[in-house]
Symmetry: C2
Subunit: 212 residues, 2 copies
């Protein structure tokens, strides 16, 4: 069995400019572009390993140039990021970093976040924006810096969450609403989230250190 | 009984630059600033009618200048936008336009959208970003332009939605997931959403005309 792949999905939002995003791009992972995002990759002199989408944003030159790297999926009922994640689910992927999912389009961004929040993929998943990073987890210790902002989002209203190392401590906290665990603060260089329900996924947001 | 008020809530995100947002600001409505958003209002030479928040982002000069217009609410379990909306709920407000809720902070923005999506306020509510506009509705006809992007979000998975005037027609559509009705397109200068469940609220996003 081949080693599992770590991939970057390049969604068709704004070009990432943060250090975290650039570090990801330079990390030599497999690059999967969502449809027209190939132009954004090319503008950074990054060549895609795979392009997935309905191809309505790609011209004939690109189609010819990457003819062996394109998977066309017409389905109008799912967006290109979802198609890319389904491909990852079927292709022995260990981790996915999503870049370019924010910016330029509120509904696209919100839709992309919901796709991550609501699905249960078999790989690690993070979404890097220019302002911070979302990680999907069940129970995990995260690195942080003092006073870094931390927000949690979860659709499961039954699961109980406990935190260690956050200013506003959560103890068997239940998400009565989707916005109830936002704007917390990391006390030092790490914090921990624990969930009593092993299948529940929590979206953990950490702001970039410099934004505070 | 006094006339009901139409208010603008100035959240503490990026300054609005779109025409729609500026039109709102010039419309002479009652201006409610969330905490530090007062600085953003002042930078546009707009004087707040009311400031609500825990006041952790306001200096003594501002506190003195607006001493008769400040309501301090300490509650750490709710954010400043939520506090402002609760004030509106109690104060005979007819409509709320929210400006500056996007930008600069992914978790703040997401939290603000969830506050709108998940609560049932007794007034009309819209959130204007630099890329488009969210309206919370049950059944309504909206103005649009040909090919304008339209996305719907709803937490109620039982309610059935029907659309008129959208490219991908919804007929008794149910929100099996939160991202399932995004990236639709208006066919002409108006479209209509109908929901069979009178209490269900649907967040309708229309992109700015120029973004397509």
């Amino acid at each position: 069995m081949k080693n599992k792949r770590n991939i970057i999905i390049f969604a068709n939002g704004e070009l990432p400019t943060s250090n975290k995003a650039n570090k990801e791009l330079l990390s030599n992972k497999f690059i999967l572009c969502c449809d027209g995002a190939v132009f954004k990759a090319e503008s950074l002199s990054i060549e895609p390993d795979l392009i997935i989408g309905d191809l309505d944003s790609i011209n004939n030159n690109i189609k010819k140039k990457y003819k062996d790297k394109i998977i066309k999926i017409e389905d109008q009922d799912s967006n290109d990021l979802y198609k890319a994640l389904i491909w990852a689910e079927k292709n022995n992927v260990e981790s996915v970093s999503i870049i370019g999912a924010d910016g330029g389009s509120d509904d696209h961004y919100l839709g992309n976040l919901f796709i991550i929040l609501e699905n249960d993929f078999n790989f690690k998943i993070k979404l890097i924006t220019n302002n911070g990073q979302f990680n999907l987890t069940n129970s995990e210790e995260f690195s942080s810096v003092e006073n870094q902002r931390v927000s949690l989002f979860c659709l499961d209203k039954e699961a109980k969450i406990t935190s260690y190392g956050l200013k506003y401590k959560l103890k068997n906290y239940q998400f009565n609403n989707l916005y109830g665990a936002t704007l917390n603060i990391a006390k030092t260089k790490k914090f921990k989230i624990e969930c009593d329900s092993p299948k529940t996924k929590i979206l953990v947001y950490r702001s970039n250190e410099k934004t505070r």
